[in-house]
Symmetry: C2
Subunit: 158 residues, 2 copies
């Protein structure tokens, strides 16, 4: 599948600087680039806690919502049930949360943070807040508030 080398060097155009202006005008393109940039920093700063973004999200919801079920986690975070199983199992093995039978629904399992889970999340959430200010250092506090508001407007009413 090599290019046709028999073609003589004719009037073929050469690109010096790439024009990406069309893509840069699209919301999807910019939202994706921004989210990748932010998540990249997040990944590096959360590595010491052994938490990927998805682990952070799950454990954060468990800490702020003791007794939350897997189903509620999936709905809140847009994770499919089969993909949550190992996530929760790993956090349980690390002693960061416990599973107890749901008091009112025998099918469900309530997820509860352990003392260690609360302690870790307290640290991790403070790191996340600091990181937030840092990542968005190019934005004023007002700009950051506006950005969050507009982003929520884009996906909230789905």
């Amino acid at each position: 599948m090599a290019a046709d080398r028999r073609t003589p060097p004719r009037d073929l155009p050469v690109v010096e600087t790439v024009d990406a202006s069309f893509l840069e005008g699209l919301l999807g393109y910019n939202a994706r680039r921004a989210s990748l940039a932010v998540i990249d920093v997040f990944l590096r700063r959360m590595a010491p806690y052994g938490l990927r973004p998805v682990d952070f999200s799950v454990l954060s919801l468990v800490v702020h919502n003791p007794g939350i079920t897997s189903r509620q986690l999936c709905t809140s975070l847009g994770i499919l049930p089969p993909n949550l199983v190992n996530l929760v199992a790993a956090l349980e093995r690390r002693g960061l949360l416990e599973r107890h039978p749901h008091p009112r629904d025998g099918r469900a399992t309530g997820l509860h943070p352990t003392a260690e889970g609360r302690r870790l999340m307290d640290e991790a959430e403070r790191t996340a807040a600091a990181l937030e200010a840092e990542t968005a250092a190019r934005l004023s506090a007002t700009e950051l508030r506006t950005l969050l508001k507009l982003l929520r407007k884009v996906y909230a009413a789905d």
Copy 2:
């Protein structure tokens, strides 16, 4: 790995409505959610053209930058070279672009849109622009401009 069913139904908390307020205050969380929502619509509306977001991005850059190299595409879009190969090969097989030797660098290959490639992108880009207005219908034109500007500010200076 079942929950301990011997535990009697004690004072275990039950979550009625999930509190996600901490996550909703994080830029990364909101950027990710927004980008997934926008890309989901994009995916559905571009399916008739047989273009995923990444195909759209690649072909758009080729159309707007005839002669662009794989390396330039990778740098512009944050794709790793090995993962671009099959992408370009597929677009070539569909007759949407052609590969010709680079006039000034024997190692490189220039990518050039075919007439069919230009025609398809013309349609696809008009659909993308329409979709843009639609997806962001909850935002005013001013809000959309502000959102794009702030998103670029987040990732631009990386």
